[in-house]
């Protein structure tokens, strides 16, 4: 660790991993609710569990991004973080807000209250006081990071990272605007939900991936920057108007069907670009970095993001297809692999890379970490397939044959059982990952061999 203030990232990563554990545990509970519909129905209704599952996901991913920024910005701009105190204050606000959200969702104490009540808008149901807290925390973060970068060296990686973080923070302001017209409500709602994961978060992803490639492969910065710019340009070109693929059936004019179909199809390109980038950098790289686990997560991230976000997204993005598949388990399949591949794996990659450095030790427990990669990724891919098959059957029975929703759900039971099994694998994988990151070991289970010497060319 070159800079003392990089330590801030450690606190962020810790909280992120705790929330990660909470998120997948609730996911497992929900997986069982799909199998036995009455499970916990009095204590933890499905809609509440779902809020907790998705909200904790988004919060821990953001905490991971913040942590990644606090880790890589000092190294890139070659100076300490402007104010470590503010960084910890920001974390405190976010933790308080998260706790407030959980209490509000679980006990619904202040239903209907302007300031304290659940706002009831999927994914942005946080009570207003928490939203205000998130904005304050975001402002603190942006001030802190921007001051650091402004006073230090400016690189393409920090420029893109900052651009992504600024834009995603600004877009969150739409969560305060809640028009009475339901079509307009949804239209602005997607400015957050879509323009986060399919535009601004991609900038964050590309820059963190670029940082990891720079460190792990030792390829020239100039080459990495060229890739970064191309990826970011294609992400914004396709992602912004790609929002149209959410405007097919919400009451917006018909031309959105074509704008959405065409632009969102192109959203595959940046994800393919990131995958090609990661692999080509590794092939070109001359460095034999000891942190193999971080490299595995980086490559896994780029690959699973391409399949989850790119291929599974394209699967139901054309409006002619989406007319039938909208809101079926196909969506759930895409959602799971896309979030896992693009953003969960990205966070686990940067945590795998940074944590050993932050703790001032060699990257050990790598075997366990890599085992957790295969267990988690395997589980998630299996889950994606079961949900895709479930969604295909559901689409046919419900949308083509016109059977009733709950009758169809009964026929999907076997898929939900298999999905629960894959969920167990993911949760065990997550537990292994967290253990591998935090527990210390004297020596690696499998001693690393000597790097193979390259024969003379």
């Amino acid at each position: 660790m070159k800079y003392q203030t990089q330590k801030i990232a450690y606190a962020y990563f810790l909280v992120a991993m705790i929330l990660f554990a909470v998120q997948v545990s609730i996911g497992l509970v929900m997986g069982w609710i799909y199998v036995d519909g009455n499970f916990l129905s009095e204590i933890l209704p499905f809609n509440i569990a779902r809020m907790l599952h998705t909200n904790s996901l988004v919060v821990w991913l953001l905490l991971g991004f913040f942590g990644a920024a606090y880790y890589l910005v000092p190294e890139e701009s070659e100076r300490e973080i402007h104010s470590p105190k503010l960084a910890y204050l920001q974390l405190g606000i976010l933790v308080l807000g998260t706790a407030g959200v959980v209490v509000t969702y679980l006990f619904n104490l202040f239903d209907g209250n302007f300031l304290l009540g659940n706002e009831g808008r999927e994914f942005i149901e946080q009570p207003r006081w928490v939203k205000a807290g998130i904005v304050v925390a975001a402002l603190i973060f942006l001030y802190n990071i921007s001051m650091t970068v402004l006073k230090g060296k400016k690189t393409a990686i920090t420029n893109i990272l900052l651009l992504g973080l600024w834009l995603l923070s600004l877009l969150f302001l739409f969560s305060f605007y809640n028009p009475a017209n339901l079509a307009l409500d949804k239209q602005y709602w997607w400015y957050i939900v879509h323009l986060w994961v399919e535009a601004t978060w991609e900038l964050v992803m590309a820059s963190i991936l670029a940082f990891l490639m720079l460190k792990l492969t030792g390829v020239d910065r100039e080459v990495i920057e060229k890739w970064l710019y191309v990826i970011v340009a294609t992400a914004l070109f396709s992602g912004i108007l790609g929002t149209g693929h959410h405007y097919y059936w919400i009451g917006t004019p018909g031309y959105w069907q074509w704008i959405g179909s065409i632009f969102s199809t192109l959203e595959v390109i940046p994800f393919f670009g990131m995958m090609a980038f990661a692999f080509i950098m590794v092939w070109k790289g001359r460095r034999d970095h000891p942190n193999k686990a971080a490299l595995l997560w980086s490559l896994g991230c780029a690959t699973l993001a391409f399949f989850g976000a790119g291929v599974w997204g394209f699967l139901h993005t054309l409006h002619g297809v989406n007319f039938y598949t909208h809101g079926t388990q196909i969506t759930a399949a895409h959602g799971h692999l896309a979030f896992f591949g693009a953003y969960v794996a990205l966070n686990l990659a940067i945590i795998s890379y940074a944590l050993p450095v932050l703790k001032g030790r060699d990257p050990y427990n790598q075997v366990l970490n890599m085992a957790s990669f295969w267990l988690m990724s395997g589980g998630m891919v299996f889950m994606t397939f079961t949900l895709t098959f479930a969604g295909t059957v559901q689409t046919h029975l419900q949308r083509v044959n016109g059977e009733y929703y709950m009758d169809v759900q009964d026929q999907l039971w076997i898929f939900y059982v298999m999905r629960f099994g894959s969920g167990v694998a993911v949760v065990i994988g997550a537990a292994l990952f967290i253990y591998a990151m935090l527990a210390s070991r004297k020596a690696e289970i499998i001693a690393p061999g000597k790097p193979a010497s390259t024969p003379a060319e």
Partner: protein, 188 residues
Amino acid sequence: MSETATQETGSGLDALPGDLMMWVLIISELLVFGAGLLAFLGVRLTDPVGFMEAQAHLHRTGAGVNTVVLVTSGWLAALAVKAVERGNVLRTRFYLVAAALLGVAFLWIKGVEYAAKEAAGITFETHPFFTFYYLLTGFHAVHVVAGIVILGLVGWKATPRNVETGTAFWHMVDLVWVLLFPIMYLLG
């Protein structure tokens, strides 16, 4: 050519004139317009008679004149590249302004066309043909506006690299129109 020997001989992506990012944009744009035209042709198959009837409402002569206007404008932009490579900034600016003015003329003719449609009560929703008509020609017109701004910018900072980058965009706008015009207006 003796002068190429003195220039950097790039390979691969470096061999492209102008900025790499412009080529990323150009390819993205061509993919979008290409997909749009393919979708148009696909939907046309489902209702050839309706599409023919709708097409009869378009102003072919105006669009034909516009094709001449835009291609001439592209020629002027190409002359601007020649001029800037010879180091003649004044001449470069003259050609760029002329190219941009023809761009304005294109927009004016286009505006007259849109106004006539509006007066006839033809909107986005009238027929699928017009959904594509407004989408594709509208997107193209927005690119003409952007192109005029870009030509102005590269004329202001008239380095060979900038002018190459700006005119590459302008030629893309040209190319898209040359594809749009026959498919949308003429295809019988």
